[in-house]
């Protein structure tokens, strides 16, 4: 985790099977301003603590802006909506 102590609320949009773990379509996680994508994953793991199927899904999921899927080690974009994308199955 990051050592910067200033926290920032990050709103994550939920899709697919993540919809079954609650009524909300977004989830707020507090993260340091300079958090990376990996930090968001840790924050969500804390949120879903105790829910094994949510944790397994989280592990198989990716994060994305509206433009592209994010790399685990990228800095989390501050000014764009972030979505969590479980494994996909269009068609």
């Amino acid at each position: 985790m990051n050592t910067n102590t200033e926290l920032n609320p990050v709103s994550v949009r939920l899709y697919g099977a993540f919809r079954q773990f609650g009524q909300e379509s977004t989830l707020d996680v507090s993260l340091p301003l300079d958090a990376r994508v990996a930090d968001l994953r840790v924050g969500l793991a804390q949120h879903y603590a105790g829910n094994d199927s949510a944790l397994a899904l989280l592990q198989a999921s990716a994060f994305a802006t509206d433009q592209a899927v994010l790399d685990e080690h990228e800095a989390l974009p501050q000014d764009q909506p972030i979505s969590i994308l479980p494994p996909v199955c269009g068609g």
């Binding site: 990716a62 994305a64 899927v69 068609g91």
Partner: protein, 147 residues
């Protein structure tokens, strides 16, 4: 006229529009694929399927896939890729992909490419509703960044 059409919609998909889009005086071939909701999946009887998708990212991924197809099989290709969302009954079309080109090989290959890549890369999810009243989110392909 734009020769590329990508869309996500909760309205029924229109194969006739896809075939009109995928045509040109110099194009001797068009290939089209329709994916429809099936009444049986992995041994369970399905009544309907609800599709969830990330609309903006979906369109971006569709455009990216189409650009790759043109890079591979010709910039003159006309391409169509649309996916439906919401609840669909058995038999309803969930996806239509189509391509036209001067000769048939490019149309067949590009059409198939759109379908395969869409399935693996587009942010789309489906929840099956079974006749026994149960529902389940279908397992899919994990996404990775291209970066």
């Amino acid at each position: 006229m734009t020769t590329l059409h990508v869309q996500v919609s909760d309205a029924p998909l229109d194969p006739t529009a896809a075939l009109e889009h995928c045509s040109a005086p110099g194009h001797g071939a068009a290939a089209l694929f329709i994916g429809r909701v099936r009444d049986l999946n992995q041994g369970r009887q399905v009544r309907a399927v609800s599709y969830d998708l990330h609309a903006v990212l979906c369109r971006n991924v569709f455009k990216e896939i189409c650009a790759e197809a043109r890079g591979q099989w010709g910039e003159s290709l006309h391409l169509w890729l649309t996916h439906r969302h919401g609840r669909l009954a058995v038999g309803e079309a969930s996806v239509i992909a189509a391509a036209s080109s001067p000769h048939r090989d490019e149309s067949f290959k590009a059409c198939r490419y759109l379908v395969e890549e869409m399935k693996h890369r587009a942010p789309i999810w489906k929840q099956e509703h079974y006749i026994d009243g149960d529902s389940d989110w279908v397992k899919g392909h994990a996404l990775c960044s291209h970066g």
